[in-house]
Symmetry: C2
Subunit: 392 residues, 2 copies
């Protein structure tokens, strides 16, 4: 692939891959960021005006939209008006050389532009063409307006999150968007692998709705087993106890006791030996039935000391335990730093790449997100329509 | 690859791939299920006794553990004791023919068994070896006990989920486990692609902790912008209003108004024209500042009619809206069925495969999860140590 506009980046398994990226906002750009992190050259096509909408979204850091920066690091940017014939010709030249095309417009938009999968494989049969959308390219709700909150609501994940006496609760991150982005990457990587055998591209159709359904786990099991929806149970485990969040004299922390042995070790460590032989707490099943009473007993002790005391005491006893950290604490946790999950790209700190593969760089400092049309001139030269072809 | 023990399954991009799967419980098996869905042959190695712990977990349906069934469909099962020399020899024969090996033991366990990546590439340099763990193979917390709840707590995702006046809230699904499973698949697919170029395998090291950090989105942005943790804001959008859950006369529903135009359309549709010109609600910023007052005004109207009325009225006005569904409703939603996201495997209904790739089957009825050691005899014959080699 051409590399006249070369940015410094991690070499990776996809270092020979050229991605033409029409995605915007969150789900598509998150997926193509993984491609970029794993070595692909990603050219982001942005519309005239302010480009990707997220360039205008907060929060900002030194005039950079963090929303945009977090999911566009390492990419190149060019503004193209796909309704303009000259710009479209440059775009089609890119497609001819590309390995992957990604888009997350509403279903039907690319066809309306004459840029559907069927259109583009005519000029590049090796193209892997990936679409990410709210509800997918097919089915009665394909055109239904989709925001992360709508998909979280309709997929059932909100109904599973929260407390029995409280409302259905949105997951505090745009998990439907992000899951779709990762699954789009999965489809692209799989289709690129298959292309090595077949020589042919493929069409990848990923939906935020499908991706969230695939994550429902226990709620879906409960429905299949009983035909009924799961009742929300807050932070505790459905069938292991004590396995929950607990209050101390200061901060909250979690304990995960999966069996009688760990429960006994916990009781010994905190000086509450009588709980081991309490008839209400003899088995995991009885502890689960009496979870409110047990929580009350345990918290009576926990509230006498700060969380740091209990974390050390309980961990030293071999019982799984951990603090409830806020993001500011998690972001600079020694493990976060050791795993290179706090990187700097274009002068902005952000989460790193969780896909660690031996033999490739995982640099702590990377190329940042591009300014709007930063690579426009160079890319227009690189993918210029030849004078001869233009004259035809 | 050998296929004497052939199960009927979707052909897919990985139909030539043999996976030796040592993973158990949730994160690893979820990742290798995606491989199975996309055509790979996955041989699950289970320990003597009751096999994978999740075979004993509820909920059950017709004596099948749904927990086990949901993340082991389409796989083969053999019981091997890796501490027994004869069984280990069969295992090593499998490794010699395998493309992928997966494991999610505590870091160090495979090395202790003499089965580390460095050990196994000596007998199969093309092996892609993937480890999934709670905190990763490296760093000061590599050995820290990890359950999904502990990782959710320590990664910050719990601190972001829930309401301002309520506690940090666990995401109602094991999202740290599931994210690690998907990212493990990402690493495997990427390494298999690269192997086509290099001829060499690779080591993939994925952690639940890293995977969750990669999903923090807005919370991480807020920390980078301000140095402070995000305050929980419940179900509403941080900077768009009205973009929240609302109560009707019966069920809750969500509205996503991203701009002034949509807000005006909403007000017209529900007969509350005066809100458009209300000084508190003139701009998105002022609506966000006065979100509690606006919510109260809107709900005064919404509580006069059931959700079905408002969903139709508001949708017809072109404003993004959707119901808050429970999992029983989401599982049989027309879009779920149309997208083949409600499949049947081994007589059990479960979520389908969200990675849709053209040219491959996406069957609504699939091979279920194996019984313990279901393929043991056949696999012992297929991968038997030759008499000659055994005699040496």
């Amino acid at each position: 692939m051409s590399s006249s506009v070369k940015t410094e980046k991690a070499s990776g398994p996809f270092s020979n891959i050229l991605v033409i990226d029409l995605t915007h906002v969150l789900n598509g750009p998150f997926g193509t960021t993984i491609l970029s992190d794993l070595g692909a050259r990603v050219i982001k096509i942005e519309p005239p005006g302010h480009g990707d909408d997220t360039r205008t979204y907060g929060p900002f850091y030194k005039d950079q939209s963090l929303y945009f920066s977090f999911v566009n690091r390492g990419k190149e940017s060019i503004v193209l008006n796909l309704k303009d014939e000259a710009d479209k010709a440059i775009f089609l030249n890119m497609v001819r050389e590309a390995d992957v095309l990604t888009e997350n417009f509403r279903p039907g938009t690319m066809k309306h532009l004459g840029l559907s999968y069927d259109d583009l494989i005519k000029i590049n049969p090796r193209l892997v063409y990936a679409s990410s959308s709210g509800f997918g390219q097919t089915g009665p709700f394909a055109a239904y307006p989709a925001y992360d909150t709508i998909v979280q609501a309709m997929s059932g994940i909100m109904s599973m999150t929260g407390f029995p006496d409280g409302p259905a609760t949105r997951v505090g991150t745009s998990m439907s968007d992000l899951c779709a982005g990762v699954f789009m990457f999965c489809g692209i990587a799989s289709a690129l692998y298959a292309r090595e055998k077949t020589g042919q591209g493929a069409y990848v159709d990923v939906a935020m709705f499908d991706s969230t359904l695939a994550f429902l786990e226990h709620g879906f099991m409960e429905y299949v087993a009983t035909g009924k929806p799961l009742h929300r149970i807050g932070n505790r485990h459905p069938f292991m106890t004590p396995f929950d969040v607990f209050q101390s004299a200061d901060k909250d922390f979690v304990i995960c006791c999966g069996n009688d042995h760990l429960f006994a070790e916990l009781c010994k460590a905190i000086g509450r030996l009588e709980l081991i032989t309490d008839a209400r707490f003899l088995s995991n099943q009885s502890r689960t039935e009496n979870n409110a009473a047990l929580k009350s007993e345990l918290e009576a002790t926990f509230k006498t000391q700060p969380a740091a005391h209990w974390l050390k005491t309980i961990h030293d006893a071999g019982v799984p335990v951990g603090p409830v950290l806020n993001v500011a604490e998690a972001a600079v946790h020694p493990q976060t730093v050791a795993r290179n999950m706090l990187i700097e790209a274009g002068g902005v700190r952000m989460p790193g790449n969780p896909v660690k593969i031996s033999g490739y760089e995982d640099p702590p400092v990377r190329t940042g997100a591009p300014t709007l049309n930063q690579h426009g001139d160079a890319l227009r030269r690189e993918f210029a329509v030849p004078a001869k072809a233009a004259a035809e």
